[in-house]
Amino acid sequence: MSSTTLSTILFLAFVAATLGITVWASRQTKTAADYYAGGRSFSGAQNGLAIGGDYMSAASFLGIAGIIALNGYDGFLYSIGFLVAWLVALLLVAELMRNSGKFTMADVLAFRMSPRPVRTAAGASTIVVSIFYLLAQMVGAGALVGLLLGVTSEAGKVWTIVAVGALMIIYVVFGGMKGTTWVQIVKAVLLMSGAALVTLLVLIDFGFNVSGLLGQAAATSGPAGNPDQFLIPGMRYGTEAQGIAGKIDLISLGLALVLGTAGLPHILIRFYTVPTAKDARKSVLWGIGIIGIFYLLTLVLGFGAAAIVGREEITAQDPGGNTAAPLLALRVGEEIFGTVGGTILLAFIGAVAFATILAVVAGLTLASSSSFAHDLYAHVFRRGQASERQEVVVARISALVIGAVAIGLSILAQDQNVAFLVALAFAVAASGNLPAILYSLFWKRFNTAGAVSAIYGGLVSALLLVIFSPVVSGTERALLPDVDFAWFPLSNPGIISIPVGFLCGYLGTVLSKEYNAAKFAEIEVRSLTGVGAEKAAKD
């Protein structure tokens, strides 16, 4: 049996299991709290695994391993920002959000503000961030399945995107937060075991000699004249050839990664799935443990692929390096367990990669459809007059519509280089959402004008800077390589747009006289003590 057949069988087993979970979850989902927040009944450990499942995308599993395999140290540098970011979530956001919100990011922002303008802004930002991230994942899925299953025809890629999108819609529409969370938990366990197994085999292969592994990686895949270059920063981000702009771009990327996570809507709504703020804290602690260990594993996987598979073979299959980890699984499996072992391991890693994509896209669809139904439909269009039942029906319909739109856009964009959308999603989250969240929780004087200015200021400045950056035009690798209207030299807008977001929030606030002392007292007391925080749904 070939590894692609076996991979398909394993993947179908995952799909069958997760559809079973979805059917079970749909029977448990009755109220709005069930649909949006899984009845707030998850434990800290379960939600921590789900956080890992939501966050560790195929881009971070296959992508970072691939960047390390081809560019050495820089892939590691990239992963560190994704990890440190969780401290912002742990120290400043998770518990306070759990205590003061219900279902969406906007719940916290609109708490002491005029609800309609703030929910409109927060809803728009949530949907923009989630759809960018979603597109990057789904377009990636099409290409990835092509590589792993050997499907190279255009029709094959289109069908892959449609299948991934259809499953994602089913999980979210029927399973709601409960079903989606379990899909993420199952995926996190599979991904961690797959990555840990291959890492262990690589270390056994090198007799647990890390220095030997690094030396071999540099010698096999580093630059011919100067292999040590492979073990220091600068082969991919801020290369010497790019000069000062490249190095500032590196800092800009680092800032967006470290400040973006705590403003990503699909991450924020995870804090609502647990009964108390203490469980929200526990979930982030679990999340940090899992995500940290995962990036340490990808470090070994990346250098392992560089040492054992080698640059030539990796780039022959995919110039982007996305198949470095699967190729490594095949090779170490063969070396240690023989040909059959290699085939089985490759199939397993392939199936894990699909599971990874599905869990992440489901989380994103849920975040955007929840925000559409709860913020835009129930509070903006219906001015809070919609019944719980109507809201959940609208949430399900919008999951279907957003999913269908994402499938369509992904098919249109399938041959485009859309990897920059992930960094852009982080930049928008860091520039618009994070300032609004932090000001709401900590700044007494903050008001409606401030919240709206922070969100739109951050969102618009990040978008505009990217439109006029080298990722959209003016270079060979740009989205529109044939035109050149790029005047902003950096590919990551964070270093400008994050301060702009904070500044807009500040100016908007001080230029408006509105201020509600009583409501600030309420959110401050509630966020720190948990008074009035909605408890777990009983049934």
């Binding site: 140290y73 990890l83 742990l90 220091i232 203490k278 982030v284 309420e522 401050e524 007391v525």
Partner: protein, 109 residues
């Protein structure tokens, strides 16, 4: 008892109480400086990665260099800060928060 005006005044009373002020002080005095510290430490690492590549490449143990150790130290500091925060919250924040929450919820009944 459950009108919004009444709730708001309860919240304002709690907000002014010395116990709540102590909770807020303990929370902010730990998390704010620590946030500044880990952001500065992370940015220092990124700046070194951009401008001090020779330093990052100094080999310490076989092919293990300063850059790798500094990167791994980012993992260690992240794990440590997460652990230290959970200890701080359990010992210094949760008892006051629990007490205040029980007080307010009893009053509201």
């Amino acid at each position: 008892m459950t009108t919004r005006e009444h709730d708001a005044s309860v919240y304002e009373q709690v907000q002014e109480s010395s116990e709540f002020q102590e909770l807020k002080r303990r929370f902010r005095r730990w998390t704010f400086p620590m946030t500044v510290a880990f952001l500065v430490w992370y940015l220092l690492y990124v700046v070194l990665s951009g401008w001090a590549r020779g330093f990052m490449g100094i080999k310490l143990l076989g092919d293990i260099n300063v850059g790798l150790i500094l990167g791994l130290l980012q993992f260690v500091s992240t794990f440590w800060i997460a652990y230290a925060y959970s200890r701080h919250a359990e010992k210094k924040l949760d008892p006051i928060a629990d007490k205040l929450r029980n007080q307010v919820e009893e009053k509201a009944q």
